[in-house]
Amino acid sequence: MTGARSQFRTLVARELQTVARTRIYALLAVGVAGLLFALTAGGGGAQTGYLPAVVDLLLPLELLVPLVAIAVGYRSVVDDLERGELAVLETYNVPAWVYVAAIYVGRAAVLSAVLLSGLLVSGLVIAVAAGPDTTVFATHSGVDSPILWGRFIVLTLLFGLAMEALVVLLSVVARSVRAAIVLATGGVLLAAAGGDALIVLGLADGWLTESNLLSALAVAPNSAYRGLVFETVIGVASAGEGGSAAPLWSLFGLVGWLVGSLLAATLLLSRRHL
């Protein structure tokens, strides 16, 4: 049997070539970069520095990242199902885990490129527009720097990768492209906004207390991302004001969404036959 590694490389290459030859993804990248540029330049934060820009962009990115993940990934598996290519791939002995991993890596690379290009453009705007203090590299608390912007980019990519894994799972669940868009939109928005809503509800009803609030925040993907940004980017500039999230648990939360979604997608696909 062909090595799984070779099949994986072949499938990833097909994903990347597909995206490279589909103009809509280039338009998506331009749109995202344009939107982030407008938010950065127009929000006022850029003139002040990296940290104010992070504060400006954090909330919009909580919405934008899941939407980009949907746009990049909702058709990833269901297209192959509708075309009958999944049934054909099974005759080539492609294991479900290889297929899911390859689809995910291909789409995750595209998502990362789209987000990275937009955030690098924003970083450039800040570097040009902001005052001289922001060129200083942070060595201790209270100093704004491009390093913090880099940290923000890494966390945003992590959030995006977790959302992309969820979208791939929902694309496995869907039986048609139309169902895929509904499932991806509903599922991702439920995960993104539903987690926060549940936490608010839990606090209001009393079944969530201060002692387990940080754990709950780490489980919901949006609040885990927000918590990580607060603790490891914004909090650096305001020493002593941490404790709004548990960074390690938040990191586990996002990685859990990523790994859990891909495992579920693999399990589902292997039960349904590839």
């Binding site: 049997m1 062909t2 070779s6 099949q7 072949t10 097909r14 070539q17 597909t18 030859r21 589909t22 509708e82 075309r83 009958g84 290519e85 049934a87 054909v88 791939l89 099974e90 005759t91 080539y92 002995n93 492609v94 036959h273």
Partner: protein, 240 residues
């Protein structure tokens, strides 16, 4: 030529909820033969093919593949083959070939179905018939010992349909066990070594076209079809 079958389905049953689709179906596909499954729409042909491929588990019964241990034991052409429109015909075949250990010749695969001249044409620019031929080329990548085709001539003009069946018959002549479902009785009569008539989820009769004609006092496969499928259906309607 009589050889031991390498793909066998025994006592196959399949149900979708309350609906019974296959009932006690036995089928055997031998190397060097083109076996055709014939029957009305909705009679379980595609379900039977999917079970034989291992894509669907039977409610009861078993499927055995006893052919050689190879990279790709069974090739498959779905009923409506489709590929990524952004890729050329050659790239599509090369993609599938790259999933196998043994390198497969893209050009040979395309030439076999008469698509060598369209190798650099994108899938989106191929006609429906050419896409089906591309599907046939794909199903034979890696020279699988068994090749399963779900209505390979559907949507093809008479010339292309004949050409498609000629390709399958050539593969059978080279020792491949070829299994085809088709509604085109004239092509089946011309090219099939064995015909399995499936009706209401059960095998009604099977044998070579000549054996079937003898058994039913028919001269053509169409008359066999009339005798074993249409007339019993008409009688059932009258009785009902």
């Amino acid at each position: 030529m009589t050889t031991d079958p390498i793909l066998v389905g025994e006592g196959l049953y399949h149900e979708y909820g309350e609906l019974s689709v296959l009932e006690d179906v036995d089928i055997a596909v031998a190397p060097g033969e083109l076996t055709a499954i014939v029957g009305p729409n909705g009679t379980g042909k595609t379900t039977l093919l999917r079970i034989l491929l291992g894509h669907l588990s039977p409610t009861a019964g078993e499927v055995r593949y006893t052919g050689p241990e190879v990279d790709r034991p069974i090739g498959y052409l779905p009923q409506q083959p489709s590929f990524r429109p952004q890729f050329t015909a050659a790239e599509t075949i090369a993609f599938y070939a790259a999933l196998l250990d043994e390198p497969a010749e893209t050009e040979v695969a395309l030439r076999r179905v008469g698509l060598a001249d369209a190798a650099d044409r994108r899938v989106e620019a191929l006609s429906g018939g050419m896409r089906r031929l591309l599907g046939i080329a794909q199903s034979l990548v890696g020279e699988p010992p068994v090749a399963v085709f779900d209505e390979p001539a559907s949507g093809l003009d008479p010339s292309m349909a004949t050409s498609a069946f000629e390709t399958l018959a050539d593969r059978a002549a080279d020792g491949t066990a070829v299994l085809v479902s088709s509604h085109d009785l004239s092509l089946v009569e011309r090219f099939a070594d064995r015909v399995v008539f499936l009706n209401r989820g059960s095998v009604v009769v099977s044998g070579s076209p000549a054996e079937l004609a003898d058994a039913t006092n028919a001269e053509t496969l169409w008359e066999v079809y009339e005798s074993v499928i249409r007339e019993p259906a008409a009688r059932r309607e009258v009785e009902a």
